[in-house]
Symmetry: C2
Subunit: 182 residues, 2 copies
């Protein structure tokens, strides 16, 4: 069974974190939300409190097929300045395994000097920041080898379906789409 970890920081974007959680579950993927704080309960940027599955300190990411970073303000800036998150994302990316980031979260790569020069997308408000060291396209979804990026919350479901397709295949996607009436 494929495994995806969704990293939650205080101020994460609700749709960007939980729509993919739902989509991955529907695709038969083992998905875990991981609090990057010391508390299992994490607040979204709009104030909704969600109980994560586990704490970062209790998580061994070695079985991760994908590490998924939601955006949301100040969620993505909290991910970017968390050195533990940086280590985990760096290890995942440099092992050739998938890192996915949406909205403001591609800036977490930059903060950790990862994937410099690669082709990415990100929220338009981060375009100038990303363009200095990445090939920023502004497309809805981008893939550059094991780096998957998306532009923003409105594309969360499609991004999650694309990720599910890559790691779990067409049959998983069919199941997801059927249940969601897509």
């Amino acid at each position: 069974m494929k495994k995806i970890y969704i990293l939650l920081a205080e101020g994460f974007e609700l749709i960007e974190a939980l729509a993919p959680y739902d989509v991955f579950c529907r695709g038969g993927i083992n998905v875990k939300s991981v609090s990057t704080t010391g508390d299992k309960t994490v607040s979204a940027s709009n104030g909704v409190k969600v109980l994560s599955d586990q704490l970062i300190s209790q998580t061994d990411f070695s079985d991760a097929d994908v590490i998924y970073l939601p955006g949301g303000y100040p969620g993505y800036t909290n991910l970017a300045k968390n050195s533990e998150v940086g280590k985990i994302v760096k290890n995942q990316y440099e092992s050739g395994k998938f890192v996915a980031a949406i909205c403001g979260a591609p800036t977490v790569l930059k903060a950790n000097r990862l994937a410099i020069g690669k082709t990415v997308t990100a929220h338009s408000s981060c375009a100038a920041e990303m363009k200095t060291e990445y090939n920023y396209t502004g497309k809805n979804i981008e893939r550059d080898l094991n780096l998957l990026t998306a532009i923003g919350a409105g594309h969360s479901v499609n991004f999650a379906i694309e990720i599910a397709k890559i790691v779990a295949g067409d049959q998983a996607v069919e199941k997801i789409k059927k249940g969601m009436e897509l």
Copy 2:
């Protein structure tokens, strides 16, 4: 400020409840999630635990512009058999105010003998059940006066945007779409 209540029962569909929560917040709408159980923490159908804003027993729905019912199994069946939910939805609908229901949740109307004969959509798995007493179309989104329905999780964001447009207008929708990169 417009007000929307999202009713959460055990086993609610995560995207169908929380994507609209997020969209409504972005549109400057006062949105509250209401637990229909005695506990503020409610579990989604995929196991994610969410802290609702308030309990149904503590909520006065008289200022509701919209009462929104998410689907998800067994969430929608729990809504359908909750007599308190039935009273609230009946009062809202019969006052000519908006009731919105997605996926399996249009069956909550049937369980309460509401809006019989009206034009609705709902998840295809509920089509046969709905067709006996409603004009079931199977479209992604339907509106029949103050009754708004949607077919399933994959249309949660579009449904929420449509609801925001009706209650909060085009300017709210522009703000939502811009932030979400739609």
